[in-house]
Amino acid sequence: MMDAVFLQFLNGLDKGSAYALIALGLTLIFGTLGVVNFAHGALFMIGAFCAVVTRKILTLESVVLSATEKTPWGTPKEIKTAYVEAWFGDFGATMIEYSILFSILFAIPVMMIIGIVMERGLIKHFYKRPHADQILVTFGLAIVLQEIIKAWFGANPIPQPAPASLTGSIDIGIWLGMTADALVYPLWRLIYFVFSAVIIGATFAFLQLTTYGMVVRAGMADRETVGLLGINIDRRFTFMFGMAAVITGLAGVMYTPILSPNYTLGMDFLVLCFVVVVVGGMGSLPGAIVAGFMLGILQSFAAMNEVKAIIPGIDQIIIYLVAVIVLMTRPRGLMGRKGVMED
């Protein structure tokens, strides 16, 4: 029984990590710019498609008709070799195998540019408008981004394999002194958790330990005063928007081996992540992370058969139920600050 509970806890971690990362990006945008960004799910999806694009580029093939070999139909056999393999040999094959690393490198500048263009091109004009307008225009943007992706990549999910050496499962139980095979967990999910922990840690370190982060935090507390001190806070906030896009995009890149990306991925996660942010408290970074992991783990516990036997259907609604209860009892969410979104 203890093993089962622990396993569900671990199962919740990877979903929780994704929720926490997306919610972190969402909260960064909200905390700095005060904008409710409904296009945030689309950023997650675009991140996932950065991985698709990278893999496509790496696996571009040259086709040569074989002189000797023939297909069963009598036509010359086509020999396909990926260009990178032809150029770099075995190292090229390894590159394709570990394409996700290149995806990460590719996604960082792409997401940064997309974030900055989005902020300067559209969201900038909505700071003084009501929150309802911000929700609506970013909702429209989310539809547009989703449809562009659909027009380019089609409507079907595109599977992205993880590197072969990282696809298996590992026996965590042995590390913890249990019997063998008591607790087997897919390796990639563990990697995802570690990855998200690193990103979260790096973000907090950036905000807490660097001067740049300190100015940003000051701007979150009182934008006007920071501006009066002669600091161009707008430019820093634009950068923070780009950074939030990068965080969310990387969450998407790393999630591709777990869930094959298609164009609805963003919308699916958006609703959940808004719930996460609201449960954590709008504008609170630790709140977003705690709520992300909490809801991920609760969701996986609710999927246990023992729980479902007591309350049927609980796995379908647990997140929303928690959100309703939290909002009814703690109006600002778990860690919300006073005065944020009160009007």
Binding site: L122, H131, G140, E147, K150, V278, G313, Q316, L327
Partner: protein, 393 residues
């Protein structure tokens, strides 16, 4: 509260009634004169009018109104299955049930405002959707959707011996019956189902007009303008906002019931949050807070959904056939992502443009154009006395 309508409002009602009743004639040249689409115009018009009473008047942005649409559909469907194929009991029950649900959901959601309200309504709607998909399968028939069957009870109806499924009717008048009339050189289709929906649409529009002009409506507008100030003056706004929420929930239930009256099938996807988003789009596109705006928005979106989504590359090539091939290929290449299966892209772009530049929607656009035309008219009038030289030439 029930004083006589002002002359202006009488004109509005009269114009609206004529436009709706003449719908099959006016819309036939645009390829939208067929019953299925006309019914959708009317039904989603009702849905959007109801949504506008909440969002347009109080400013509370609900992202979960599709739940009430689905609830209305399911209750009407059960009335068809258990009681009778007559649509009247189905409509009454669905309005009552969706009203009850909206009292509960509204009571809880309205304790918060702003984004929290949006998320709460969204959470409730997603819960209903997920439950309809899974646990409530005995009531909702899950993914397949609730359908009519021959062995349903229908205790009020005569025993069905025909062996085919009965269709919804109004005291014996079959709603899917269509009269095709040749007029003005076109085939006009007058469908009973559409006229039934149209009468309800006009009634719904009338109720919304009365609410807009009533002290209750004024109070709702005050909530939108400054709720804090109302609270400070000692007015409890909760009953007013809850009233608006319940009314709009009942409108949504009514629309859901009409959906199954015209096509007896109720599925859970009707309750998904994208469906809630759609009614938001309709209301904003048409003009939020205006009387006629939501109906126009619903019409425009449903029209484009039906017309744009049918245009594929072949049809486009037909449009550009008279041009040289290279130009026509180029135009097809440019336009094709925006039509057919990609028409949502057009929708999203239009919506963004409207929110950015025309926050009042198409209605505001129309008034701006009229103002502009009016100002041009004035200029030419004032310029006339001095403009003799031009006239001489």
């Amino acid at each position: 509260m029930f004083e006589k309508l002002k002359n202006n409002d009488k004109l509005i009602m009269l114009g609206f009634t004529i436009m709706v009743f003449a719908g099959p004639i006016i819309l036939a040249p645009f390829g939208a004169g067929y019953p299925d689409l006309l019914q959708r115009f009317a039904i989603f018009g009702i849905f959007a009018i109801g949504f506008n009473i909440l969002f347009g008047l109080t400013g509370y942005l609900s992202f979960g109104h599709a739940a009430f649409l689905g609830i209305g559909s399911y209750s009407a469907m059960w009335m068809f299955k258990l009681l009778t194929m007559n649509v009247i009991p189905a409509l009454i029950l669905s309005v009552i049930v969706s009203g009850l649900f909206s009292v509960v959901i509204g009571y809880m959601s309205l304790r918060r405002s702003g984004i929290y309200f949006s998320i709460l309504t969204l959470a409730f709607a997603q819960m209903s959707y997920n439950l309809a998909y899974s646990v409530f399968t005995p009531i909702t028939n899950g993914e397949t959707g609730l359908q009519l069957r021959l062995q349903d009870a229908r205790i009020l109806d005569a025993v069905n011996t025909s062996g085919s499924l009965p269709s919804p009717m109004l005291f014996g008048l079959k709603l899917n019956a269509t009269n095709v009339v040749e007029m003005f050189g076109m085939k006009l289709q007058f469908n009973w189902g559409f006229y039934f929906c149209a009468i309800i649409l006009i009634a719904a529009f009338y109720v919304s007009l009365r609410i807009f002009r009533s002290p209750f409506g004024l109070m709702l507008r005050a909530v939108k303008t400054n709720q804090n100030r109302l609270n400070y003056t000692g007015i409890n706004t909760r009953p007013y906002t809850l009233g608006a929420f319940v009314i709009s929930g009942m409108y949504a239930g009514l629309a859901g019931a009409l959906l199954v009256c015209t096509d007896p099938l109720a599925g859970p996807e009707r309750m998904q949050w994208t469906a809630s988003g759609e009614v938001v789009l309709m209301t904003i596109l048409g003009g939020v807070g205006t009387l006629i705006g939501p109906v126009i928005g619903a019409g425009v979106i449903k029209y484009s959904e039906n017309i744009f989504s049918k245009i594929n590359d072949k049809v486009l090539e037909g449009y550009f056939a008279m041009m040289p091939e290279s130009i026509s290929d180029f135009l097809v290449f440019i336009v094709s992502p925006f039509v057919g299966s990609g028409w949502h892209l057009t929708l999203g772009l239009t919506f963004m443009l409207v929110v950015t530049f025309l926050p009042g929607g198409l209605v505001e656009g129309a008034t701006r154009i009229f103002d502009w035309l009016g100002s041009i008219g004035k200029k030419t009038k004032s310029a006339k006395p001095g403009g003799n030289t031009e006239a001489a030439e």
